[in-house]
Symmetry: D3
Subunit: 329 residues, 6 copies
């Protein structure tokens, strides 16, 4: 059966990576969730963006460049398409003219994925989409630990007099009980803030906040240690591409200088191994401001690394099961 799984992934040695319908990794596009381990789900909405728009085109572009990804990940020493059945679920419905309606549509569309037990690997969209995604995931797993890589805390109360924007999702999530802030951590925060108290506000909500300067001082290993200390239980990973420096990720809505390098960002994601990841998103990729597709390529790789984390978890479960079976008389 594993051979069959694998065969779903087109062989780049035979069919060129630039060919074929642009699904994620050129995997099958289906709404059939039978036996699906990971569902890649696009959320093409940027109606919550306050500066540069364009994240509505994130899912399409990330899918397109994901063709570069391949079968084996040496950095994590795992073959994700071997261990997991992965499909491209397509996009959730959205309404570009209404953020509230869009949130309802997203939550409704993600619900069957979560209920089917598939891991949702979501591709944004602006950061406002994380809220309905969290709602759908929490319905199954209860209050979630949030691991957030981001330049901005996104925990304001209102923005433009509205409670639902790309700057407010995680305050709402805590208020609604879908995120447990005491098990949650924000990493990479930096840049000028509207209020001197913004970071304190995030901490008052319960979040641990590790600024980009903190990471520079602590190093990647210690930063990951703090993440692991914090993020117990079911974890939702949200990865705002602006955690990365504009040199590495120019195509984003509110770029902040002084961010992570790609190497650091990769190490941070790979270092999440061991957490109980139940869902993830990569957001704020805005292709109209990208060049050479480098932002989208990085985003596709980060989504791939997350999937590899899921694959390793599956492998280790499988290994311990085999061990148990062998021990049986």
């Amino acid at each position: 059966m594993e051979a069959e799984m694998r065969s779903q992934f087109p062989d780049g040695h035979r069919i060129p990576r630039f060919a074929g319908i642009a699904t994620f990794c050129r995997l099958p596009h289906t709404r059939d969730l039978q036996d699906v381990d990971v569902a890649v789900v696009g959320v093409p909405f940027d109606g919550g963006a306050s500066y540069r728009p364009g994240a509505r085109y994130g899912p399409r572009k990330i899918r397109e460049v994901s063709a570069l990804l391949r079968e084996y990940n040496p950095a994590q020493d795992v073959e994700p398409f071997h261990w997991l059945r992965i499909v491209d679920y397509g996009d959730t419905a959205v309404n570009p003219a209404s953020i509230e309606e869009t949130h309802a549509l997203i939550e409704a569309d993600l619900d069957p994925v979560v209920r089917a037990g598939a891991f949702p690997m979501c591709l944004g969209g602006d950061h406002s989409v994380s809220l309905p995604l969290l709602r759908a995931v929490a319905r199954r797993y209860g209050p979630l630990a949030l691991v957030q890589f981001d330049a901005h805390p996104d925990t304001w109360n209102v923005h433009f007099g509205r409670r639902y924007t790309h700057a407010t999702p995680f305050r709402r999530a805590v208020e609604e009980g879908v995120v447990d802030a005491r098990r949650s951590i924000q990493v990479g925060i930096r840049g000028p803030l509207p209020h001197a108290t913004d970071l304190e506000d995030a901490r008052a909500l319960g979040f641990a906040v590790v600024s980009a300067d903190d990471v520079a001082r602590l190093g990647i290993t210690e930063t990951l240690h703090q993440v692991h200390e914090r993020a117990s239980g079911p974890v939702y990973l949200t990865l705002d591409i602006d955690a990365v420096d504009p040199a590495y990720a120019p195509g984003t809505g509110t770029p902040e200088v002084g961010g992570f390098t790609s190497r650091e960002m990769l190490a941070l994601v790979r270092g999440l191994a061991g957490l109980e990841l139940v869902a993830a998103d990569v957001v704020e990729v805005s292709p109209p401001y990208d060049h050479g597709d480098i932002t989208s390529i990085l985003a596709a790789n980060l989504a791939y690394e997350v999937i590899c984390l899921v694959a390793r978890r599956r492998r280790s479960v499988s290994a311990s099961r085999s061990a148990n079976e062998e021990q049986r008389p």
Copy 2:
């Protein structure tokens, strides 16, 4: 006093056009409407867009490239800065997260301009912004004749289940009585439509519809004749940049091939001389999709041509007044 007027316009022979704060034509930016003839007003909103966003940056970019415009327009043989006192009024307030609230903000911000008797030369923004602009203008002038250059009729009833989007403003305007469809005309409509009845629907609302193919067949002169036949009384001119072909205006939200050339578009606008223009907008300029700023440069020129129409009207009023004065004993 005219000399003083003129002095407000920086001399491109002395101060280079690339220098200085990027107001429209580098004119003074003020909210003081005393003695203002024309107020250039930005409306930076693209929350009504259904395909490519980015029109929120239209006002800024059009202002920037408007530096190329100069004192005398030989095509209309008029010096607009001589005849008119023109200011850059800045932008209306907008709320990127709510189209309804944005509409209220736009209407409120335009209201003092209209009441002061200034001609509002508005720079969008997506086409949804025309509705609140029309409302504010109609409050002073009553139901308006609409002259619309556009690839799309924008007269759908709902879009994404919403009544207020960039595809519905003119149905709403007719329903609200701010536009008198029988005195109105749409010019340049083309491209595939969602329903076979879309053009009939626009006509059923009362609009005259002259498609791009009609214009190609009739010629510019006859097209203008039909516009003049139709547009009696106070006229609101709305100019969607996608009336022009994507070769001339790539930076727009929903490009349609087969549009006007810049020469045709200029002739159509210049040919409006004689109409009783009371307000105008140029919309759907999306700088992230532009290159070499050619779309913005065209939009700036079109706004300039409209202002020249206003200047000619002023000049002829002034001339007849002088003539009258001379005749007095």
Copy 3:
């Protein structure tokens, strides 16, 4: 059943055009040819290109921007998705390292489409791909009349010492008997040529050649008259996007100044109504050299116009069949 057909096309009023998997017009992607009238087929190969590469990305980009197309085409007064069952067949196999092997793969992949009686609407790729496409089509329909819109005759004998490049397909096609040059015509030829005899060589092969200058002199109507005079029997339409001027189609491999406008190109394609079209391709779209996607958008529209020609033919067959049925006693 027609209602069902129609339902396959996602409603842009409900699901935004920027959402979903980027198939052609967001139609279903399938290899199942049962009851299929039109199969959109990508041919992502640019190994025959002699100047700018990049046409390998043509199919992907044309699919992406085809989301802008809509249900009803007023220019041809037809609803193509009503009359035809259309699918996105995906891409043919190609081998970027071998033009000969690629030709074999293309022909093999198109063969079932042609045999199933579906109209292949092919998206290139460079112009070398037309040869294997012609071979597959001719196997069913016999020697084909070729209607070619192009800046270049593409009838050289060898290029770089090779017989199979993007400059030689139509000489090969005549030699192989898959094109009947006496029923064929090339329209739009222009620009400097390597040899003074190049056009004579094309004519000596049997082609009628109407240069861009000829079209400017004759006008569109008379040009179309010559096309209709010539192209009897089953017709293969090949549309090299460089027939259009670089202002309208910058994203192409060997741009030639002085080409058609989009309006002219649309009129030429729409004017083919009445021909017995059996297959078509749009080629030489090179996205890396495009901007604002204007070349791809034009290419998508031209493919759509071709499909509308097929739909009109289907409609008229259907109408005469109905008429016959009514006449039966």
Copy 4:
């Protein structure tokens, strides 16, 4: 000997056009003027530009894309490389920090070309470079007729308080006696002007001025008639790429909407056959603002068309000489 001439032009069938050192048409680069008929000369200076810079990169880019040009020009029915020995002379010296010194350097560097009897086909650079070029050419041929295609008259007296800028060359040229304004004509003038009298000033200097609107009204044929009426004796052709519309030539310093199409521009240049052309320039190509290289490609083609005019002149001289020789007893 003609075979030898021809052999200097690399065969694009054997060596790809994207290969080799980027000289004009990949012709030999040499300062040896022995037997040279046409010397292509770059003038990489943009220190006279008042808006967008970048024309300093014009010569390099035009050379690069000129690789697309080929041996035979069907529009003029001539093989220029057969009739003329053409070399790439390289660039004149320039000093980016001083326009006056640059003018001296340009004039000095062009002088040997003119004295050797070669036709200088110059590639700018901004329009200020035409003045020293004219000086060098006039030294041999006396006061020149100027045929100028341009959006701007470039006949101001001072700009930024300076007498030598890209807005003043032709007033200076008349004052210095290197241009005979009564034999000269400006074609394509359009766009807003700083002063209502600017066109009158140009006319007062003696120039005939045919605006873009005039050309639209007169047509190409009549416009050319006026050019021929005017431009007797030795003619210097100066071709500012902004004569063309920004859709066709976005990469320029001061774009003006409403310009020529590429087809019109080509017809205007080809229509100069019969004039006694002694030198020419193509100026104001600014690659940083171009896209898809379309402006440079057009400029390269226009230079090529000029060279073909020279070739036809040579051919007809050669023909009449042969005829004379035959008649001799």
Copy 5:
């Protein structure tokens, strides 16, 4: 009064950052220097550039993207708009056709700013503009310590035979006595040099020179130590954006590989706290070569960090004054 200060800065929660006239941080544009602490001054001149032009558009673009900056800087723990009254002074006059005249214009325009006691935060422009800025500043403060972050020493004697270019300002400044080289330091120098003695020449003038390789070896902290050792008395900070690597700052005139990361550059600027900064410039931002505006965004942030240094100085003065006042009996 502080509340009033603050109110001048538009609240990005209410008015979107993409809206309004593009002044620096959307602050008021005025020439009134009453009570002004910091005047942001554009210097739009690139006539001294020897490779890529375009820095004339630097001020405009930096202003535009500065909208992203916000009220509180956590990295320096200061709210600059609280402590300082900041205005956008607009641009100095320049003459694109004359570097000497431009220098006089710049000096004259900066003079009132310096005399009013405002801190000039200048935005270039190419590096030649630092010389007249230094002159104006030194007139008040005497010979200045120069802290220069740059890839190039800019201390040549002549360039193109001219003494005033973007490669010579700091030799001139030392010669004229406006810079005291013994209190000055150049940091980040790297890349190939025209002469083996160039760095020795800079040192012979009196400058300390810390190459990019030196910084890599010493680390940021030790580098800053050397800067502080050196830069006593009134300090002029000049920040050439090419000190940063082209990956982070592609939009510049003479890019040199191997430069600082954004994180390093930010640390170097923030580490200047304690110096007696009296004026600063950020230069060599060339928007035509930028993408995604990342160079301009970095430049805007660096200017903001400099302003925060000024704010901290003000705060500590204010604090000690309060302390003194409290101690009074």
Copy 6:
């Protein structure tokens, strides 16, 4: 004689770097190999590329931007144009339609360079071109040690069923005996791989493989130590620009995130001093995907650093020869 050498390099203080024919460093273009120490050779071929094409334009663009390089390299403390006679040899012949024929053409064109004893500094082109280059070099020097900086091992056996692509050159080279794998090393390998055994396969061929993660762990110094341990005897250096991170080198065919910074890449190349370098290439630069030319500028600098390594070797030979001569009685 050295003065003469030096004079060949145009002085950027007198002739601007943007001027002149775009040869490498504006050096003479010649096929005369008499007394030539280094021949810069372009190899404009991308027919082996499996994802993004465009490397055919690499040589042209690298030449163009190499104008920024200057006479003295402080990082290596050497003046390469003083010690070496360097020419631009132009491009090898290629056939874009056949990889096998291209390989033969490349080998044949490089052969005289190698036989003349010149150091070939080759500019690709995709990585497939290294194989024929190695063949030509090995003919003189025997089996070569390969030092390869690259994201990919390029040691697959077949790709698309072909033995000659940009993914297979080094397996072929080992099989043919032109590379001695036991003296060879690959540095910088990273990213997902098609097969879990790909790196083992490279090692099984004999290569040492140092992944990007290994380098991050070991540091640059230790990495270089391993390179020096390994690469004895004549060394061929191949530098795939994708060894560098996409932030620094976006313009490449198969970008992989997590690569070297420019500073690291420069240190790695400079650290090769002491090896017996006999030839080198820099490949996979794809200008259509670049921006601000940053990839090409980095590639030009890397080629320059390699040439400086050759110059240092020459200098030390010269020094020891002088020492020997002095010792003679």
